[in-house]
Symmetry: C2
Subunit: 307 residues, 2 copies
């Protein structure tokens, strides 16, 4: 066994390098995708620029990295995973562009930069979002891999990000803005708006890696817990973070009357909930070997993140 691995097991693997290495691979894929888009005469220049602006704004690539880590946890080996994982970032980006629109969350700043509609106008922002969502399915459908697997991936992803998943969560989030939702409402919003897609990203990686039913179930639990924890921490950072750290104004949730975990449970209780969720997520991977270390570390990393 290489020394590196022994060290990893003892002192925890170097998750920062793991995330950085994979982020570079994903960014490399996305750059190629966007370059091709800009060179294609059938794609209007303004649209390609808006898609590029939104997609290359310095995202953390959490969902693609989770998909790759999940894929590796079940011993997957093929090239197609990078394409499929990167496609998740197109869907995530489309959701941010649409969520930021004046008719939705009306945000002017995202990752310390003006939001897409502030730069390109609302019409182009709506269409750039539509284009990114549509292209995500195009990237998956043209990826290397068994067509049966790719179809299952599309089934999974379109469910996770559709009206019973991410879009449904965003709808309830908007509908209940300024109203005091119940704890059940807040749970619905978080498990759907953010949780469903993160769970989906983990499942997509597992499906591409040919996971057994038992392993898929365990990874699903990991994805569910991690996804919910991710949004709870997002809510906490909106209160405790700085503008420089989170890339947008702090206190925005409270100002908009958003239903968040801190608003429903209080800040301390929310921290405790996030902490427990991450413990449960790591516990769900108890039967996995060292290949699941990145997933374990990503969960801990999410808990400690500052942006």
């Amino acid at each position: 066994m290489p020394v590196q691995f022994i060290c990893n097991r003892i002192i925890h693997m170097d998750i920062t390098s793991y995330i950085e290495d994979n982020r570079k691979k994903i960014d490399g894929f996305l750059k190629k995708y966007i370059s091709a888009k800009k060179r294609n005469n059938d794609c209007p220049k303004e649209l390609a620029e808006a898609m590029s602006y939104a997609l290359m704004a310095g995202g953390k690539r959490v969902r693609p990295i989770l998909a790759i880590a999940s894929y590796e946890a079940v011993g997957g080996r093929s090239k197609g995973i990078l394409n499929v994982a990167s496609a998740l970032e197109l869907i995530h980006t489309y959701s941010l562009v649409h969520d930021d629109l004046p008719a939705m969350d009306d945000d002017d700043l995202r990752r310390n930069k003006p939001t897409t509609h502030r730069v390109f106008g609302e019409a182009t922002a709506i269409l750039a979002g539509d284009a990114l969502l549509t292209d995500a399915f195009h990237i998956i459908s043209t990826s290397d891999g068994d067509p049966k697997k790719l179809i299952t991936v599309i089934e999974e992803l379109s469910h996770a990000c559709g009206p019973e998943g991410m879009v449904g969560g965003q709808e309830v989030d908007i509908l209940l803005e300024g109203k005091k939702g119940s704890k059940k409402d807040v749970l619905y919003i978080h498990t759907h708006k953010t949780g469903a897609f993160i769970r989906g990203a983990v499942r997509v990686g597992a499906l591409m890696g040919g996971a057994s039913r038992k392993r898929l179930d365990a990874l699903t639990e990991y994805g569910e817990k991690t996804g919910l924890a991710f949004q709870v921490i997002d809510d906490i950072l909106d209160i405790t973070g700085t503008k420089a750290e989170i890339g947008k104004s702090t206190g925005a949730d409270a100002a908009k009357g958003k239903n968040t975990y801190p608003s429903a449970f209080g800040l301390e209780k929310s921290r405790e909930i996030a902490d427990n969720l991450i413990k449960e997520a790591v516990h769900a991977l108890a039967d996995f070997n060292k290949n699941a270390d990145p997933l374990r570390e990503i969960a801990r990393y999410i808990l400690s993140r500052r942006n």
Copy 2:
């Protein structure tokens, strides 16, 4: 040979019945889809209502019918085609909901009814569009059929409706609003905004039907010509139609400074162009047998349509 067929060949088949029968089948599928959505507790009620309102507003179902007719023209036989064809209507509906938004075409009326955002608000309309687009891919990925075929269908459709297709056409349409575009611009808008998806619908049917390369090429030409003719006639009807016929205010294109065929080529020349396109579309099917009669008649029907 049954008498019906002989009659069809002599006096032209009864295209009105053909369209009506298929429209009913497609509406049946869409009704079931929407009922399931409304019953699903994971899908917010308001969102399901908005999706239902937009989808069941009495559309002509042109794209699904073209897909079915194209499928039948190449002798396709399987159940999956109804699902796949109906999914096209979800994509068409999403595009209408988004196009009607205040930031886009700002339309209050569609098919003689208030547009989706006028009834449900802008945020829900944006999300209903996103949900319909996402669900279209879910329907296809869960359809009966060879996964390899379904993946090809998704590749085709996501290209036809993405930034190099429908979304690209809409972007240029909006960008050039109020400006005098060149004839080349108008051709780009029409072949992309409407043409690409109609061409895609015909190709999707052919792919599901297992068309040979030669037949796919012929159907692609048919789809291209028919798609362009469809939009040219739409432009003409915006000038010559009545509000009752077209379901929205007439003269809207001119009022908005849209770049249309009549604005670029004049009304008479546009009629002549549409007429020639339909002739060329029918000619592209010269080597097809009677199974392609519905496609031939739909092309003629499009030329004579009043709404």
